[in-house]
Subunit: 342 residues, 2 copies
């Protein structure tokens, strides 16, 4: 039985009874960005999705090297159901630690707390923020890029991770800075769940996750929400101010009919969204620049996608790419033109 | 001994060893806005301020009708010191309930929790938010005004309360909606400590505190922070979106040299601040209007104050008044011109 002292990869991804891809988006993000960390998936009898990994039970996963069961499924209300509790208990008995991105903390369930104590397993809750301070807004060393969006769930995390990969391929120091639960798992446990911090500490949380650095490298900060999403814009603004970004990348999903969850709110125009983000960002980063526009074209034909990106490029004079389909090489080119490596 | 089942006024105001007026601002707000609820003050041996009430010990206060000891002092870090704990325990022994605006919860101190359980006293923490949901941003009935500011601590609460008093004098239904600890005590315990909610729920908290109403009356919502304060702007923006304000009143303190706590940040110009607040407010309230500008002139001569207000009035075509020195009659006039009572 594994006796490793701390949680971490390799992961067994728990999908439970996820009814669609969205419910399993945390597991999907891990399987896409860190396949080398994922030994398999465990699904409930009513699960309607897959992340394409072998289906393993906890014993098989432990034998295959898994160290942690990652609860990578979103339940209604963020609370564990009975099946999830049973799966967590079985994983701990089989020797695994447990990490979760749910709102409900693992140790709030007495049976899980008891088993973890008895077996010496680590419980990690990605939505539990670190100890934070109020944002100080003091200029700090280092180069920082923040992804912003026309809406929630338009590819900010994927774009940020694609930029990390692209810059590292060019031998430029660059680190993804996670601000949501999926990103925190992809970053190996480090990050700040910015939507879960106390409101006074939003910009302080952004400062915490991207501290001063003097190696010439980039902090690539995962954006959240949108200045135009009336439920969450406060989070987006605090993150923008705390990030003190040198560069922004605007992310967009062109088939979105309305702001996520709000049928009575239209998406902003790209111009309006760029202008509002630049205006707000200048409060703490007067020289902020836009490095490009990232579009999720997965719901478009390849022809339509190419035509859209070309049109956006001409209109804004900025590189426009789909990070998943096309990569972000031209956005990275522009970033390095704006801020040449020393 | 009082055996009332719940906390509430009359209050005995605890000032502890407050070193200045700012440290006692919660007690001061109560004594100013709700003098009829305050039977006295209790001060420590090193207290350097007063709110002008009789100094009473807990026994005298209880005999004079006090029901609750109100911890109306801000300590460093928001934590209770030994003197405060001793005063709270003595008050409970004398028959009083206890209410606090500190970050640290009263029941986190084991001696306080034990005494409250044993004596049947209520402990109320104003900074503990109610159960909230994510903001829905659905248009709702009722009329709402929000105070906004060029900075923190520029008179937003005083302006909002002055408007409540003025509208009620005119027999117009109007209710102060509290978003900070002092305001919550002034409102008799109801309100949302908006800086203490989880970041995802800022706009939901604003919706909770100003629900739909159909009596033709006004919800007057206490603003917090400033869109131009880089530590707290996220709170201000979420509050602005959740409030769905029909009217804004901009608050300003003209001698402020820099943003509160941030010597490297200048205050915004009134024009810029008004424009940014209107632009952001239009997302959830497209017809938002400005009813006036409220200036704290307490640090100016009367002549200078009059000249400043007159100058601002001409420049913006908006009524400009000091709510404490001059009242808010002309701002209320403008509000009722913009939105005539039915």
């Amino acid at each position: 039985m594994s006796e490793s002292a701390s949680w971490g990869p390799p992961y067994l991804l728990y999908l439970g009874n996820a009814q669609d891809d969205l419910a399993a988006k945390t597991a999907r993000g891990l399987a896409y960005w860190r396949p080398e960390w994922c030994v398999g998936q465990v699904r409930g009898p009513h699960c309607k999705t897959s992340v394409g990994l072998p289906d393993l039970d906890v014993g098989q996963a432990q034998a295959a090297g898994a160290r942690t069961l990652l609860v990578g499924v979103a339940n209604a209300g963020g609370v564990m159901d009975g099946d999830t509790v049973a799966a967590v208990l079985a994983a701990m008995e089989a020797g695994l630690h447990v990490a979760s991105g749910l709102h409900q903390r693992l140790a709030e369930e007495p049976r899980i707390r008891e088993a973890a104590d008895r077996l010496g397993r680590v419980l990690f809750d990605a939505r539990r923020p670190p100890a934070l301070e109020v944002g100080k807004a003091v200029p700090r060393a280092g180069k920082r890029l923040l992804t912003v969006g026309t809406d929630c769930s338009v590819g900010k995390m994927y774009t940020t991770l694609a930029l990390e990969r692209e810059l590292r391929l060019r031998n430029i120091a660059a680190d993804f800075r996670a601000t949501g639960q999926t990103g925190i798992f992809i970053a190996g446990g480090r990050g700040v769940p910015i939507d879960a911090v106390v409101a006074d500490f939003i910009s302080g949380g952004a400062e915490w996750v991207s501290p001063a650095r003097d190696d010439g490298g980039w902090d690539l900060i995962e954006g959240q929400g949108s200045l135009f999403h009336p439920s969450f814009a406060g989070v987006s603004l605090g993150l923008l101010h705390g990030a003190q970004p040198h560069a922004l990348v605007l992310c967009h999903e062109p088939t979105r009919q309305h702001m996520r969850g709000l049928p009575h709110y239209a998406l902003p125009a790209l111009e309006e969204c760029l202008a509002a983000n630049l205006q707000a960002a200048r409060l703490t980063s007067p020289g902020v620049q836009v490095a490009g526009i990232a579009v999720d074209t997965s719901r478009l034909s390849r022809e339509h996608a190419a035509s859209l990106c070309s049109h956006v490029e001409k209109r804004f004079g900025l590189p426009c790419q789909d990070p998943v389909a096309d990569g972000v090489a031209r956005i990275a080119d522009r970033l390095l033109e704006l801020y040449p490596p020393a």
